[in-house]
């Protein structure tokens, strides 16, 4: 155990976390050069495309230190986006230390600070690493100054590194073995292990990634899951190298996997403690937070025939994504589906894309919503995260919505535009701090609802990518919340309804009508789109019909060709949702809430 180190890399998005992980893996000789694909850990296509880590991956590195001793280093990769703070917390609870990565030209950003606080909460050893020192724009002195004053860490400890060029890697390895403590734990105590991740293997069933704190587990043992009380016989235990590597046992301090013939998804709870039936621990491990979804949206299959397949896909998907919660839902416009809770908008988009790509589902997602609270005249309170259940307005005594403290770090020159953006989104109580001479930290109290739609994209856009954003929920505040309905050719589309603040209702109404006008293709008849509160129309747009699509000639050889074209169009139509005679493309249901850059 003295030769084991469990660590993680934490960083603001794009500060080079995955590149550093690649370099560490390569340096430890785990992968032959020919096997090596850049960003080994980000092995989902989606992650590669977006350059972000969604799922934590774990890998064991062997390292022979300068003193000649061989260490087993368990690198637990963490997601790098604010939406995935829960996954980060699970990874951190399994570690004794972290590498805190800071980009040498961008310096400390909002997520750097958030990650630091999370690491401190878990009492981890923190090793600052300044990455990308090869960049011409690198300003090492500035970053050191920030590390000292913004993060309160000793800048002399910071390791200079260029993961891209491979410089500083040896120093990082040495720091890991010398500074991060070996795991503590007692192989003689009852077995306890924390499940920090799980994934599904079609041949082996559910596979749990875990950190063993005490005791030992080996094939043949009977596992007990402490939160559910379920028992499973262990088939295999092992370590994550390039692929799974079976071991005789896993004992205190190590990080590995357990396969125990767990077939059903529901049997693994991320965050649960595993112990052994024969000699159970007296209490479960602590340190894991509950998943609290903040953004809600409904998922429907495009064709109602695909509902059973969606049920199955969501169950399988859920195994790899503990943060997703869902329950049955139904809509007049879209049929049977699920109401889902997500950690944030990025999480929502990732779930959507993965369901489509990996599970081959054709789905529609509705506009995201937050969770509102209503107090009715009779004194009852209601929690509503689905606009369909907005109560009868004549019965509402008061309504409240969640507020966040938004923290934005930007170069000083963007202060004006960011202030304007936040005030437009009902931000209040602006505070300004100058953590370093050239940068401003602005904080606002803001309704979460104004942030979930496209705030981060807008912020990135108005600050040309320099703005960094983090938030925490603070409280519910009262507000005049109304339901905005959208009518397409006079038919109300329940899946497009929104709960909005009355002051912003017209803005949203206009935006949704305008965006739908862009999203819905022209038909051969006129389409009227209206936004309404109660019976009152507050916004409208019109899609003019196309006038001509007919082909001039249709003789012997043209007929089959025409029919084939029609069959193709018919298939395309099946991928749309019909509201009356109007075809609405699936993307429209979420796109309506995204403002355009030129707005």
């Amino acid at each position: 155990m003295q030769h084991i180190r469990n660590f993680s890399i934490i960083a603001h998005i794009d500060h080079g976390k995955s590149t550093l992980a690649d370099r560490l893996i390569q340096h430890a000789g785990l992968i032959e050069a020919r096997q090596f694909r850049d960003q080994f850990l980000d092995n989902m296509d989606l992650e590669r495309e977006r350059g972000i880590t969604i799922k934590s991956q774990t890998v064991v590195l062997s390292y022979k230190s300068k003193s000649g001793e061989v260490y087993q280093l368990n690198l637990i990769d963490t997601p790098g986006h604010a939406d995935f703070s829960y996954e980060v917390s699970r990874a951190m609870a399994s570690c004794e230390g972290v590498l805190l990565l800071v980009d040498a030209s961008q310096g400390v950003q909002a997520q750097t600070i958030a990650n630091l606080y999370a690491a401190m909460e878990h009492n981890l050893t923190i090793i600052p690493v300044i990455n990308k020192i090869d960049l011409p724009s690198a300003d090492i002195e500035m970053v050191k100054e920030q590390i000292e004053h913004d993060l309160g860490l000793d800048p002399d400890n910071a390791i200079l590194c260029s993961a891209k060029e491979g410089t500083g890697i040896e120093d990082i390895f040495e720091a890991i073995v010398s500074q991060i403590p070996a795991p503590s734990g007692d192989a003689g105590k009852p077995f306890t292990a924390l499940i920090f991740d799980a994934h599904y293997d079609p041949y082996r069933g559910a596979i749990a990634s875990c950190r063993v704190f005490d005791g030992t587990v080996k094939p043949g043992d009977t596992l007990l899951f402490m939160s559910t009380g379920a028992a499973h016989k262990v088939e295999e235990v092992g370590l994550f190298r390039f692929s799974r590597e079976p071991q005789k046992e896993l004992s205190a301090g190590s990080v590995g996997y357990v396969i125990a013939g767990i077939k059903t998804v529901a049997d693994i709870r991320i965050g649960d403690t595993m112990t052994l039936e024969s000699n159970p621990a007296s209490s479960p491990l602590s340190g894991f937070k509950d998943v609290k979804p903040v953004v809600f949206s409904s998922i429907y299959p495009i064709s109602s025939d695909d509902y059973p397949s969606l049920v199955d896909s969501l169950e399988k998907y859920k195994l790899n994504d503990a943060a997703l919660v869902y329950q049955k839902d139904s809509s007049a416009a879209l049929g049977q589906g699920f109401r889902c809770g997500f950690l944030g908008l990025l999480h929502l988009e990732i779930v959507q894309e993965r369901l489509e790509r990996e599970f081959d589902q054709s789905i529609i997602m509705t506009a995201p919503s937050v969770q509102y609270k209503f107090t009715l005249l009779d004194g009852t309170t209601l929690t509503v995260e689905n606009p369909q259940y907005y109560p009868d307005p004549t019965n509402i005594k008061s309504s409240a919505e969640p507020f966040i403290k938004a923290t934005i770090i930007i170069p000083e020159r963007y202060m004006g535009t960011v202030m304007k953006l936040c005030l437009e989104r009902r931000g209040s109580n602006p505070r300004v701090a100058y953590p370093t001479p050239a940068r401003v930290e602005m904080t606002f109290d803001m309704p979460l609802a104004e942030v979930v739609f496209d705030f981060y994209d807008r912020l990135k856009s108005v600050t040309q990518g320099y703005g960094s954003f983090d938030y925490e929920l603070i409280e519910y505040r009262e507000g005049d919340l109304v339901k905005l309905d959208i009518l397409v050719n006079s038919e109300r589309v329940d899946a497009l309804s929104l709960i909005v603040h009355r002051d912003r209702a017209r803005d949203w109404g206009v935006q949704v009508c305008d965006r739908l006008k862009e999203e819905i293709p022209r038909h051969n008849f006129k389409i009227a789109i209206q936004g309404a509160i109660g019976g009152k129309i507050i916004s409208r747009s019109t899609i003019t019909p196309f006038r001509k699509d007919v082909t001039a000639k249709c003789y012997g050889g043209d007929i089959s060709r025409k029919r084939k074209l029609l069959e193709k169009q018919k298939k395309g139509k099946a991928r749309m949702k019909m509201v009356g005679q109007v075809m609405i493309p699936q993307g429209a249901f979420v796109a309506v809430l995204k403002s355009r850059d030129d707005d």
Binding site: H523, N524, F525, K526, P545, F546, R547, K548, D549, V550, T551, A552, K553, C554, Y555, G556, G557, I559, S560, K562, R563, L566, E567, Q569, K570, K573, A574, M578, G580, Q581
Partner: protein, 379 residues
């Protein structure tokens, strides 16, 4: 066999003096292969002879059938008449172009029974003719038209093209007015379209030609329909007008009503109905004179592909073809259900169809969007 169900016989003559810029029918601008082709056609005729039907239309299309020498034309028609059975009142059409039509040819085919000439005039404006890649002048066209009439043809069709970038509505009216002086029994007015692979398509890709746009195309179409109907013509199909019900192209209507037809010659399409396959079977010949001749030389049918329609496909075609004609679609033949009712209500409300005699008949505006009407009944 009812008159409506009698099959038609088509022969594709894949030769032209030169290729027009807009045309995507299969033809070559060389007469070198004519003798071999003539020979092959005779073989194809013999191939289907045993399955001969009681045809009531013969259509020589192309290409440019009038490009053939008088004796070749006569020989072909005689061969067809010898091996297939035709009714007494068969409509026999030959397509012709001004540059190759002669009085001799006309008299000779008339004697063999050809009773309808479809003349490719396209425009009576020399600048427009040049734009279209036609090799005759407006004067040639008018002379040909007069000649056909003077040879005693009582059923003349004229093909015209309109709605392209160098044409004005006044220019189009002028062409129509001069044509109307001859009172042709049938006028086809084709809106300019850019077909893949044609010289015009390539010109558009290169930015040297463009369409006039949806709004102007619609305006041209509606004006043309109104004008010709006012002049006593029936607008019975998207692009076709007849001086009376008896002058609607009997042959072409078979395509739109799923009546069987046998197509001979390269690229020709055939369709058989019957109890064996309710959706109908369709096949098409190879689109190459060389392959066509070669296959027939080997005693094989020159067929490139075939399809048997499912009920669903047949239904889709029936709607698609129905909405292209003034007859429209039998309202009782539509699948009943709330979806259909809603679609019909929407079409009526937006003025795309009218209900008359138990049929949904497209209006002029409906004709213009006829390609999207069948889809309103899907899904």
């Amino acid at each position: 066999m009812s008159n409506e169900q009698r099959p038609g016989l088509y022969l594709h003559v894949p030769f032209c003096r030169s290729k027009c810029f807009y045309c995507d029918f299969y033809s070559v601008a060389s007469s070198a292969a004519i003798p071999a082709w003539l020979h092959a056609v005779r073989r194809e005729v013999l191939l289907y002879r045993e399955k001969s039907h009681d045809f009531d239309s013969l259509y020589l299309g192309g290409g440019t059938p009038s490009i053939l020498e008088e004796r070749d034309l006569a020989g072909l028609i005689e061969c067809i008449l010898e091996h297939f059975t035709f009714c007494a009142d068969t409509e026999m059409t030959m397509e012709a172009n001004p540059e190759s039509l002669t009085e001799h040819k006309l008299r000779s085919i008339k004697n063999l029974g050809v009773n309808r000439i479809s003349l490719g005039i396209q425009s009576l404006d020399d600048r427009e003719l040049k734009y279209l890649g036609r090799i005759h002048s407006s004067k040639d066209a008018l002379n040909s038209l007069a000649m056909v009439r003077s040879c005693g043809f009582a059923n003349i069709g004229v093909d015209l093209i309109y709605g392209f970038e160098i044409q004005t509505l006044q220019g189009w009216k002028k062409t129509l007015d001069r044509i109307l002086e001859f009172r042709p029994e049938h006028i086809s007015c084709y809106q300019m379209s850019f077909e893949r692979g044609t010289p015009l398509w390539k010109m558009r890709q290169a930015g040297r030609a463009r369409s006039v746009g949806e709004r102007l195309e619609s305006a041209f179409f509606i004006w043309t329909s109104r004008y010709l109907e006012r002049k006593g013509y029936l607008h019975y199909e998207i692009s076709n007008f007849a001086a009376g019900p008896e002058f609607m192209s009997r042959h072409n209507r078979k395509y739109w009503t799923h009546v069987p037809y046998l197509g001979l010659g390269p690229s020709a399409h055939s369709r058989l109905g019957g109890r064996a396959c309710p959706g109908g079977k369709r096949w098409w010949n190879v689109k190459s004179i060389r392959k066509y001749c070669q296959l027939l030389e080997e005693g094989k049918a020159p067929v490139e592909g075939s399809e048997v329609l499912t009920e669903e496909q047949f239904e889709l075609e029936r709607l698609a073809l129905g909405f292209r004609t003034s007859e429209g679609v039998d309202i009782h033949a539509l699948r009943s259900g709330p979806g259909t009712d809603k679609a019909v209500a929407q079409m009526l409300e937006s003025g795309l169809v009218k209900v008359k005699g138990g049929r949904l008949r497209p209006t002029r505006r409906g004709f213009l969007v006829a390609d999207s009407l069948p889809l309103m009944f899907c899904g």
